[in-house]
């Protein structure tokens, strides 16, 4: 029980830090990083709530969601970074 | 429980973890980048090899020895390559010639 609680709290902490930086930062790269941290926090809360400490088994449905989320996130991050690089290039010219 | 392989394995793992800890301290204490690179290429590789060797002693099945050996091989090569490339990229001549 306690071990799950640690990851619950850590996931919520990641979420809070990421939301705070998303709201206060103006830098594009920093915001994309914050989005990634936010996704990690959500994944951690999901997996920790799906973990059953009695049997030591984690619910496969949240696992599949998180797995899907990781792959979607890296694709979205790449597209966002391409967009940021393009914006930067056009503002300099 | 206290058979020879398990004692040997635990000892090797303890030695390996000791190497890793020394590497961490050295990485913090060494004065410049080029000396800190030694930590990555030597102490860390030695520590990981000892850990993997100890883990192989503890489990002792071929199915686990193969991935452990590959782990050591891959990290040794990666560490050496990255260390070399980083060192070359920070030397003034750019490492050409």
């Amino acid at each position: 029980m306690t071990s799950d609680l640690v990851y619950h709290v850590a996931g919520a902490g990641l979420l809070a830090i990421a939301l705070w930086r998303l709201a206060t930062c103006r830098d594009t790269l920093r915001r994309i990083t914050a989005l990634n941290v936010l996704a990690i926090g959500i994944a951690m809360v999901l997996l920790a709530s799906g973990h059953d400490p009695a049997t030591g088994v984690t619910n496969p449905v949240p696992q599949a969601f998180v797995l899907t989320g990781i792959v979607v996130l890296v694709a979205v991050t790449a597209a966002l970074l391409a967009l940021a690089e393009r914006l930067e290039g056009s503002s300099d010219e | 429980m206290t058979t020879l392989p398990s004692v040997l394995g635990t000892g090797l793992i303890a030695a390996g973890v000791g190497f890793l800890a020394v590497a961490a301290i050295g990485f913090w204490r060494l004065p410049d980048l080029l000396s800190r690179l030694h930590v990555l290429t030597k102490a860390d590789t030695a520590g990981l090899s000892l850990v993997a060797l100890g883990a192989a002693c503890l489990t002792g099945t071929p199915a686990s020895i193969l991935p452990l050996g590959l782990c050591v091989l891959l990290t040794a090569i990666s560490g050496a390559t990255v260390g070399h490339l980083v060192a070359r990229s920070v030397t003034p001549r750019g490492g050409r010639s």
Binding site: - | T10, L20, I25, L48, A55, T59, A63, C71, L74, T81
Partner: protein, 82 residues
């Protein structure tokens, strides 16, 4: 015993963090990340040995195989001709 050793390996991994934060040059920070990668592989091997799950060997192997990619990216993107 193995639990404790895994904990020490984790601490050795985390010990790369201060150098990552203060490390004067960019190369120092990347090397710190590489060092943390090696430490993570060792921690994974120890966790696998402590709990007897062989699936962790695959995770360690994936880390070991791809450890150099970010270091290579750093050097390749830094070189003058890009």
């Amino acid at each position: 015993m193995l639990d404790f050793l895994a904990f020490v390996a984790l601490l050795a991994t985390l010990a790369a963090l201060p150098r990552l934060v203060v490390g004067p040059s960019a190369a120092d920070r990347i090397i710190a990340a590489q060092l943390a990668g090696t430490g993570t592989v060792a921690t994974l091997i120890l966790l696998g040995a402590a709990t007897g799950t062989s699936a962790l060997h695959d995770v360690a192997l994936v880390f070991a195989a791809l450890a150099a990619v970010s270091g290579l990216a750093f050097v390749a993107l830094r070189s003058p001709r890009r």
